[in-house]
Amino acid sequence: MALHDTLSTDLPPAPVPGLRPADEVMALSRLGSLHASRLSFSRSLVRQMIRERWQLECERFALDAQGYGDAIYRVATPSGIFRFVVFAHYLDPSQRRDRVVANDWDLAFVLCKGDLSSSDLEELRANVPRQEAGRCSARVLTLSRANRSQRNFEAVVERLAEGRQPDAEWFENVGYLYRTTAVYGNGKFGIGDYEYLRQGKTFARPFAAELFTVYMVRHFAFAQVEHIARQRAPATAVPLAAPLKRYLGIGNSTGLGMAPFLISHPQLIDRWIHMRETAIARIHALGPITPGQHDRLAVLVERARRYIRQTHTDDAAQSESNRRIEQDLAALQRWLSLMARQVDTQHGPQPDWRQLSAMAQRHGSVETQELINSLLLELHPAQVNALEDHLSVDSAPALQADMTAATLRDLIETHYAWALAYNFDDPAEQRYFWYRAATKEEPRVGRRGQDRGAEREMLLGVARTIRHCYDALSAFIDTTPEADVVDFLLAEPDYRAITRRIQTLATLPYGEIRANLLGPDCRPLDLLRCKLSFFGAGKFDPRSDRWVRITLFQGAPLVDDLSSVDEEFDWFMATRPDPRAVETS
């Protein structure tokens, strides 16, 4: 079997007209306004689990009365058998920290392939709770940890032990029982490589194994709180109501560690954005909005308004943005009401999706525009779902050494005008630098001239490197106008990496984030949000401009639902369940 022949992932679908220009799409502020959509990886994963009827079974549940111990779940998919193994132990509340630099957690867990012997389990027990300090074998596919929500966990246990359900309102603010701080995959600390995962079909899509691990810890969390409640009050304890379980996701705290990925994987970023833009362009090319679509859109807009109202954050900018979205959605509802008669009667000018987007562009905030794009995707599974098979990229950046140096300069002028527009003679444009901290190699941002580490700067300043390369190339061409790229690189070997990047991305318009990551206007949070939106994250709650809390899988079907619902199970922008639904469940 060839390395990557299991999914037709490397070739994008046929190009469609009407894609938005990269200058618009790849602006950092817009990328930092993206919302989850049906193309997000967690959505795609859940559809796959339902479609393939994955079987999840608890093989071992060895928890004491306080919920400490270990558990093993067997996961059967059409392509293989996997195990989710979780270790729970007491954590002093003072040690419960969100940052990646923590050394102890309430839960530590792994997703493994195949069967587990008792010695395998002991090896996991010895290493998994140590996380970065341990070593795992290649049979381990992901490695992660999570901390309890101090607010929710004990309160939920207490209510269940009393025989009552928790208030759904609790979960508006904090929509989870556990919060992960890192989910490691792709070979970290000795675990299996993504190259291997891609050979199988189960977790071949981007971050599928990592997200399934998050889904499984959500499942374990429900079992654990119910177990503790039962142990505490066997006579009165009740299980957590299914609507509340569905409304609970898993929290995540994400810092700068995620940011360099977006710069170091430009072909992958191009593909993700390209597929999202392809979906939007396909929808724009459709005819007028039908009455059925109009009604469904009205339902989704109302739900989106409710979702935004139920999103709480202390961050002033995000709060303001949320308020603006709600206003914009209210305006959209008024427009939909006006259009309702025309759509129903088929008389007069018929609105279409392109018109809707144009209106959002004229009157809505950037975040509203992108939310409406997510709504459009939600309404069109036939135009969107198949694109999930094209979200991986196999090819590596390639140098074209026989290109003329003059052509390379043309490429820079054509595709990197945005980078050349920065003036790097102005010290402000290099105010910040990115570095790897000695503590767990976590990426951080320092202020040049003030903080230590500028001499070990990570090369994330693409715009600055482009400028330097362009200047050196222009000087080289002045003396040797007929030379090839290889001659330029023999003379200026420092520009080998950026030359390869320029040549590779010349045909990939969405590969480059069009911002100077060293300058005063860079908000690292925007990088995080872009990637998290593709994961399917919601409830963005910035804690500073460098880290954010989010929720994954809020609204997702439960393990028990998987065999009874279809792929189009609706969990888009899940809102607080109706108390009557909780009572009757």
Binding site: A2, L3, R135, S137, A138, N186, G187, K188, F189, G190, I191, G192, D193, Y194, E195, Y196, Q199, A396, A398, L399, Q400, A401, D402, Y435, R436, A437, A438, T439, E441, R444, G446, D451, R452, G453, R456, L459, D484, V485, V486, L489, L490, P493, D494, Y495, R496, A497, I498, T499, R500
Partner: protein, 237 residues
């Protein structure tokens, strides 16, 4: 020591960065070492031989000694392939693209076995390649060939009767027009071939390594990790 493929790439790249290698070179060099290890060609062992010399080699440029229509001769100026091999291969690919057939010779060059990892790139560009080098004083020669249509090269090591004390060169022959294969002339008897590695060997090595991980020399790995820590900043936070 068990490590993953991507872990080997990441750690090697950081180590090369800490040693002062240029951005383009260090990423490629890390991938080449890992590629060799993944395919059972002892990339980490070869890296171990080079590691002590890299601090002074990093930053060395390929110096052009001579060029003609389809020939380029460079000096690596005593540096190893990790610092110079990528550009040498690129020069050959560019020349073959223009001329159909190209010869690149790199003199005063070390750790030449590591060139194998770079050759797959020429195949991706539709160029067939034959690499040849001899070990000084050991009467051994190495030929590696890769067709433009193939994923894996064929490696042959054989004993040669021609002793040459100071041959530190590497020759690359590249063609856009025909395949280059290490089929020996009839006066090179089969029994003199001391090692032959074919595509099937490499494919099975890779499948096993991806499923079970890579086994690497613990000392070299520890050295790599120690060097790689040189890119980290102790910011006191």
């Amino acid at each position: 020591m068990h490590v993953s493929y991507s872990e080997l790439i990441a750690t090697s790249e950081k180590a090369f960065e800490a040693l002062g290698m240029r951005p383009g070179e260090r990423a490629e060099a890390a991938e080449m070492v890992a590629w060799l290890q993944l395919h059972g060609l002892s990339g980490v062992r070869e890296l171990g031989k080079a590691l002590a010399y890299l601090p002074r080699e990093a930053g060395t440029r390929l110096a052009e000694l001579w060029r003609a229509e389809n020939i380029r001769v460079f000096s690596a100026q005593g540096a190893g392939i990790l610092c110079t091999g990528g550009l040498a291969v690129d020069a050959g690919v560019a020349l073959a693209s223009r001329q159909g057939l190209a010869t690149v010779r790199v003199e005063d060059c070390h750790n030449r076995a590591l060139i194998v990892g770079y050759l797959a790139r020429s195949a991706r560009h539709g160029t067939s390649v034959l690499a040849y080098w001899r070990n000084a004083g050991r009467s051994q020669a190495h030929a590696v060939s890769l067709s433009a249509t193939e994923e894996f090269p064929t490696l042959r090591t054989y004993v040669t009767s021609q002793r040459q004390e100071t041959d530190q060169s590497l020759t690359l022959i590249m063609s856009r027009r025909f395949d280059l294969r290490p089929h020996f002339h009839e006066d090179v008897a089969d029994e003199r071939i001391v090692q032959s590695i074919a595509a099937t060997d490499m494919r099975s090595e890779r499948e096993h390594a991806l499923e079970h991980g890579l086994n690497v020399d613990q000392t070299v790995w520890n050295d790599l990790k120690t060097i790689a820590a040189g890119v980290l900043v102790d910011d006191g936070l």
